[in-house]
Amino acid sequence: MHEPIMNETRAANGGNGHDAIFTRDLNLWYGDFQALFDVNLAIKDGMITSLIGPSGCGKTTFLRSINRINERLGYVRTEGSILVFDTDIYGGEVELAQVRKQIGMVFQRPNPLPISISDNVLFGFQLHGEGRTRMHKSEKEEIVEAALKQVLLWDTVKDRLDSKATELSLEEQQKLCIARLLPVKPTILLMDEPCSALDPKGTEAVEELIWELRGDYTIVIVTHNMAQARRASEECIFMLMGKVVEHTATEDMFVTPAKKETADYIEGRYG
């Protein structure tokens, strides 16, 4: 029931140029260890924003707190707020399932479910369509085709939609993992080093796909690969020791970083 509200807000904001994700004084602890310090960020709608920084700087933690997946760990404490299209996703009245539906996530290692390719694409959709009348076969086929086309996978797999998703190559698996998020119409896609398990060719293909999806979705991508951040993102956030150091347009960050730490990291002095 919250999803329509979010979508209206999105329409009211008029798409590009507004904030998809807005955090205010976000602090996060794993037990006694503080992983995020006063994170204040405004991530723009319809853009690709990359998060860079050395290992352990909190970029993955930040990403995982946007769709509240961190909570599963049990010992995580979050303070501050995260607004997604003006709705506080940590607010009491928000349904977790709706948050996750709105915000899809792609992991480091592709994690297709060990079922058929088309069942993978339909999985999330059927999860949220429960309780309504059964879908027609043709309707299912349309959804599968549309999602796979969108991730540029349709031509390679169209003749074997019933074979197991785990038999695909890693690159294809990762594309499938993106495809299965699409049928529930998310607005934000979070990607946690989506190419780190892939070979250079696969990386290129997935980067190309991410670039294709720009505009239709707000994409936040965590990466270790500086060249990737530079190639495949429009804005860039540099984090260090749980704090945001710099957040600017990608080209500015790599050409004229404002802070010394950013410059040091980009030039490879640590990380």
């Binding site: 769709n67 997946i69 599963r72 049990g74 977790l96 399932a97 709706q98 948050v99 996750r100 539906k101 899809g104 996530m105 992991f107 290692r109 994690n111 297709p112 479910l113 060990p114 079922i115 058929s116 069942d119 999985f123 999330g124 999860l127 949220h128 429960e130 197991k164 785990t166 993992c177 299965r180 998020l181 529930v184």
Partner: protein, 270 residues
Amino acid sequence: MLFLIMTALLILPVLIILATLIYKGGPAISWEFLFDDPREGMTAGGIFPALVGTIWLVAVALLVSVPLGVAAALYLSEFAPDNWFTRFINLCIINLAGVPSIVHALFGVGAFVLFFGFGTSILAASLTLAIMTLPIVIVATRESLQAVPLAFREACWNMGATRWQTIHRVVLPNAVSGILTGVILEVSRTTGETAPIMFTGAAFFLPFLPTSVFDQTMAMSLHLFVISTQVPGVPDHLPYGVALVLIAMVLTMNAASIGLRMYLRGKKKW
């Protein structure tokens, strides 16, 4: 070579036992033996009441322990927070598995026969068996649940699945063959147990079939014990025949469960 010998050592006892049973007990097996009552002070006749009794005992025990054990394992593996209470429950399960069966028997007498007033009955005996075999089901189920990769669960959660949807759609289908293995083990153990049913529901000699769970019954394992040690003048082939049938029952049930498991594994697409 060493491993080959060790493997052979594992197989050898099984083969010897089976061969002895078939050699000595085989001649006793006949339709009359399987479907007739014991006669002449259990020195002749068949084992039908004991056969039926054992099936009752195992079935009722399974009806109790499988739902309870699977539910407990689901809770422990999927829902329980990692705190002292959960660890305490786990400790209890391990200890429950270590309690000698005769102690379970006495517990059964105290709890089910006397306190709950079920009397010596199939119900009391089956409940005792169920409690005794509960750890097997819980441990096997919990292990097969935990063998489901975290990546599958994460994939599910991330698409907005609730905890129950994740369990129902991804975790259980993947764990079902492991759960069945636990049930197989439990069936084998339950069929053969003697001590827990001796005081709680199994009768020495009762040539009638039970009509409800509040009746007493004969059972194969106790019958074997009785005719082997308690009754004079039993011809040699009778106890061997009983033992052969008992072992055949266990093996048949195991085979059926393994078949079911293979069928389920083939049916699921992963």
